[in-house]
Amino acid sequence: MKLKRKYITGFLLVLGFFVVVAISGCASTTDIADRSGAELWGNNCASCHNIRPPQTLTDAQWEVAGIHMRTRANLTGVETNKIIEFLKTAN
């Protein structure tokens, strides 16, 4: 493996980091704690896979799949509960 490529990658990573910081500085988003279940669902449930429509699972199934996703996607307990409650009203 060539050392030069390592440095180029390192440089790109550092550059990427600053882009992220710049973007997050400009973004005016509401606090996560103040977001509704529907909003949190939109924020979190479409980044890895297509959004799974609420009607595809029953209330009882969303309670189980919700916890499964909490562990997969590193959601907080509050976020998970709000999303599950939203899915139970929307299915």
């Binding site: 493996m1 490529r5 390592k6 990658t9 990573l13 990427g16 980091f17 992220v20 910081v21 973007i23 997050s24 973004a27 005016s28 988003t29 509401t30 606090d31 996560i32 704690a33 939109g42 924020n43 979190n44 479409a46 980044s47 890895c48 896979h49 297509n50 959004i51 799974r52 429509p53 595809t56 209330d59 009882a60 199934q61 309670e63 189980v64 799949a65 916890i67 499964h68 909490r70 562990t71 997969r72 996607a73 590193n74 959601l75 907080t76 307990g77 509050v78 976020e79």
Partner: protein, 375 residues
Amino acid sequence: MKRIRFILFSALAILIGSATQNPAQESTDLQSQIQKFQAGTHQFMLAGYAVTSFIKEEGNPSQFESAFMPIFLFKATDKVFFEGELEIEIEDGAQEMNLEYGQILYLFSDYLIFGAGKFLNPTNYFIERLHPAWINKMPDKPLMVHPGTRMLASQHLGFQLRGAVPIKGSKIEYSFFVGMGPVLDPATGEVTFTNYGDNNDNKSIGGRIGFIPIPKFEIGYGFEVAKVGDANTNLESVKAINNVVDFSYAKEIKGLKGGVDLKAQLVWLNIDNPNIAPLIYSNDSFGGYAQISFRPYNSPSEFFQNLEFVYRYDWSDKPNKAPSNEYIKRSGFGINYWLTSSSLFKFAYETSNIDLPNGSTTNEHRFIGQVAFGF
């Protein structure tokens, strides 16, 4: 004759009975019956996916491969959970069944979860979060997590702690684990990541920190350290270190009537050079992938809404002096057609450019057609 009359009478009685029953009463009865069914604190759910692929590699006979992965989920209480996945597959001329993961989870608090068992490697973003065939937009895994060119463990057997902490509008996520760690092959200098019987007392430790500044934008850094040599040999103190960077971003682009999705992961694997023959070279590998996909999900045509275009570049660069030294660079184009939110057809064409240990270069081409269904 008597029997028929009896059946007719019973049917009539049921009809009259149900007609006189108040519909509201009926629905509350039904509700209470359902609630009775749900009242148990244990909840079970079967999830998973199935996938079948057709692979035509230039110069090799074409093949079909198929796999079914049932996922068993149990929720005992609000705090105690189990997830287990079996992987039953027909691949490379053999049929196999493996435990993909099996983990008991204890949800300590809003921000902390403890897990024990065989779990997907938290530093391996692709494997932990994107590998199921109905999620992965290409029909195969990137080289650095694929058998043969793997540089990072897919699973660990041990304990983990994980969670997330929101900070205003952004979020930090973390995972830390202790597991068995990889095992060094003293002849080839390669490490094996499927370690079900440890060769030393040293356990691997590692973790990942992820930062989500805005929704659908995530950047993460992961590391893993382990001694990989056999106990009581002169390779005992040889360490393997993984560094991993991952990136994920999804954005709707109104002008293009659809959404773009970007994913990338870089993996470094550095194994100590013990200077003991045949391991007398710097044993460093580097691999990764970057992928961009676009789906015109707001297009007026239903056909286009379900189409998705993908490009992935991945590579695997093994140590120059190792017997396995190969530098593979691969480009893959894919077109997917979504049938539901979790089932699709994929068609992909991949071209690999390979630098071989003898200094020569070769090209390989392959076509993969796949159908995947997640449930």
